[in-house]
Symmetry: C2
Subunit: 344 residues, 2 copies
C-alpha cells in the first residue's frame, strides 16, 4: 500500500500545524538538501507546452529516495474558476522502485515555493530589511508574505496586482494575519521603499513587472513568476546591475529571467551559498536577484518533510496502487478466473 495525502488532509494538516511554523521547519529540510546538492540526480524538468499553458514533470533522486512532481501552469485558469497551478507528487524507494507516498502538491508547492524564497532571502536581503513588496497577489502571495515574516521578520507588506479583486483579497487576508499592509496604486508604488521585492505574476509573456528605474541599491529581488520560456517579469537591464542566484543553471537558462541575457551571463548557484562555499550579499548597496523557477530538489525536500511529519498520523491514508500477487512472477493470477489461482 502507498501512503496518500489528499487535498482535504493537506488542508487540515497545514491548518492544524500553522503555515508559519511549517514554513520554518520546511526551510530546515531544504537547507539540508541544498547542502548535499551534489548527491542528487539532476535534470531539467520535462515540459509539455500547449497554447494556454504547460504541464511539467520534475524528477530527482538521491541514493535512497526518488521524488517527482506533476505540475501545470495555466495563467488563463482563474478566469474559468480554476487554479493556475495544480500539482501532485510521489516519493519512492530507490532500492525497490516502489512508490511510498502520493500527495496533493498544490498547497505543498505554495509552502515550498515560499520556503525557498525565504531561504534565499535570508542570505541575500540586507540584514536590516523590514519592508516586503509583493507584485502579484494570486495563490502564492500570502505564503510568500508569511515566509518572509517568519524567516526575515518582514511584517510590512506593500502589495500590487493588476486585478483589483486579487489585490482586495490579499489586503483582506494579510490584514487578518496581522501584517501592516499598504494597498499600492501601481507596481512602482509597491516597490517604493521596499527592501525585498517579490514578483509572482502569472502571465505567460515577456512582461516588465519591474523596470530598472524601480530598483534601488540594496534591494533583494525575489523573482518567482518568470519560470517558463517566454515568461519573464524583469526589464533585462536589472539583471546586469544584479548578482543573480539560481537553483539549477541548465533549467533556469531556459525558463528563468536569465533567458533574456544568454548562457554566458554569470550566476551563482544558490546551493553553494547555503553550503557556505560562496557568499550571499556582500554589501549594503548591492542588488541581489534570486531568479527562481522552481527545481525538483525543492519538491523532493517538501515530499521528504511531509512524509516525516504525516506518516502514521490520520493525515496519511492508504491507496491500493501496487499489484501484489502471492507469487511475484504470477501477475496473471490477479486477473485469472481459474479457481485454482489465488487472488490477493
Amino acid at each position: 500500500m502507498v501512503q496518500f495525502v489528499d487535498v482535504d488532509a493537506m488542508r487540515r494538516w497545514i491548518s492544524h500545524e500553522g503555515v508559519e511554523p511549517l514554513l520554518e521547519d520546511l526551510v530546515a529540510y531544504l537547507e539540508d538538501d541544498y547542502r548535499r546538492w551534489e548527491q542528487f540526480d539532476k535534470t531539467p524538468r520535462v515540459p509539455a507546452h500547449s497554447e494556454h499553458g504547460v504541464i511539467e514533470l520534475m524528477p530527482t533522486a538521491d541514493a535512497e529516495l526518488y521524488g517527482f512532481k506533476y505540475v501545470n501552469g495555466h495563467p488563463i485558469n482563474p478566469s474559468r474558476g480554476l487554479q493556475t497551478v495544480t500539482a501532485f507528487g510521489v516519493l519512492s524507494d530507490v532500492a525497490t522502485g516502489y512508490p511510498l507516498l502520493l500527495t496533493e502538491m498544490s498547497l505543498l508547492t505554495a509552502l515550498r515555493t515560499a520556503a525557498v524564497s525565504a531561504m534565499a532571502a535570508r542570505r541575500l536581503a540586507r540584514p536590516d530589511a523590514r519592508v516586503h513588496a509583493l507584485i502579484g497577489t494570486g495563490s502564492q502571495s500570502e505564503f510568500q508574505a508569511l515566509a518572509m515574516r517568519r524567516l526575515l521578520g518582514l511584517n510590512e507588506v506593500r502589495a500590487w496586482d493588476v486585478d483589483p479583486a486579487a489585490l482586495d483579497k490579499f489586503v483582506r487576508n494579510a490584514t487578518a494575519l496581522g501584517f501592516t499592509v499598504h494597498r499600492a496604486t501601481s507596481g512602482a508604488d509597491a516597490v517604493d521603499g521596499a527592501d525585498v521585492v517579490t514578483t509572482c505574476t502569472a502571465d505567460k509573456v515577456n512582461a516588465t513587472v519591474l523596470t530598472d528605474a524601480m530598483v534601488q541599491p540594496g534591494m533583494h529581488l525575489n523573482a518567482i513568476g518568470g519560470d517558463s520560456p517566454g515568461k519573464t517579469e524583469l526589464e533585462p537591464a536589472i539583471l546586469r546591475r544584479s548578482e543573480v542566484f539560481v537553483e539549477y543553471h541548465p533549467q533556469t537558462l531556459v525558463e528563468g529571467e536569465i533567458q533574456s541575457v544568454g548562457a554566458d551571463f554569470p550566476t551563482v548557484d544558490l546551493w553553494r551559498v547555503i553550503d557556505g562555499q560562496r557568499p550571499g550579499r556582500t554589501s549594503d548597496d548591492q542588488v541581489t536577484l534570486f531568479d527562481s523557477v522552481g527545481f525538483a530538489i525543492n519538491d523532493f525536500s517538501a515530499l521528504r518533510f511531509l512524509r516525516d511529519r504525516v506518516s502514521g498520523t490520520p493525515y496519511a491514508t492508504e491507496i491500493d496502487l501496487i499489484a501484489e500477487p502471492t507469487d511475484p512472477k504470477d501477475l496473471f493470477s490477479l486477473v485469472s478466473l481459474a479457481p485454482a489461482v489465488s487472488h490477493r
Copy 2:
C-alpha cells in the same frame, strides 16, 4: 475530483471483461494512435538509474490529452517477493492542465505491452505462423501468449525460463488457458520450430537469450526484455540478418537491442507500418525483429482506452487531488483559520 482506478478495481475490470477481448480492443486504440503518430509530442522517457534498477517517467501528449506513466524496473525484486515492474499513470486535460484520471498501471502495462507485441506481430510474422516460443515466463508471459493467440491465432506455446518455478507457473497457467504447451529444456529447445519468438527476460545485463544459431529464416522476433542501457537479450549478429522495427528511434537507440549496433543501423518506424507507409514482412524467409522498449504513446493509448471504458462505472472512483478554493486566486483560504474565510 480526479477519477481513480486502483489495483483491485483494475483486477476486477480485467477479470470481468476478459483478458483476450480487452487485448483485441486495446490493439484498435493503439492502431488509431500509431496512425496519427506525428500529432504527438514525443520525447525519450526520463530514467533515474540506480544500483538495482531504474525508475522512469514516460510523458506524451496530443492536442487534447496529456498522459504519463511512472514505471520501475528492478529485476532483483522477485527474489524479495516484489514485482519487477510496478507502474501507475495519469491522463490530463491539456487545456486546463488538470489531471482527469489516475490509475494503477502494473496490470494495464502487461496488457499494453502484450497488445503492442501482437499489433507488431500481425504485420511482421508470417501469415501462416502457428507456434509461439516464449523465453522468460515472468509477469508478462501469459499476457504475451494470450495476445499472440487472440490476434494471430498462435495456440501452441513453447516456453523456457532459467527459473524452474516460473516455468512451472507458466505451464500451469497456459495449460489452464487451453494452450498446447511445450515445457522446453533450454532456450534453443523452446525456439526450435517456432514462428514467433518472444524474449521477455528481466536481467539487467547484456545477455544472449537468443543466439544467431537459434534464429531460422522466416521467424519473427518479439524482443521486449532489452529495454535499458546495458540490458539486451540478442546476439548482435541477429540484428544484422533482420529487418528491425522500432517504436521511437531516439529512445530505442539508447535502450533497445540496437544499442549494440549504433546510430547508423537502419530501422523501420513501426508506426509507418501500421499507417501503411512502409511494408511489414516482405518475404517468407525474412527475419523480422520488433526491438520493443515500450514508448509513452503505448501508455497513452492504454490510458485513453481505460478512461473510455471505465468512466462512469463502479470501477472508477474519485480521488481528492485538486485544490478547489471558492476564489481561484485565494488558495490560502483553504488553510486559513480566520473564521470569515470560507473552506471548501
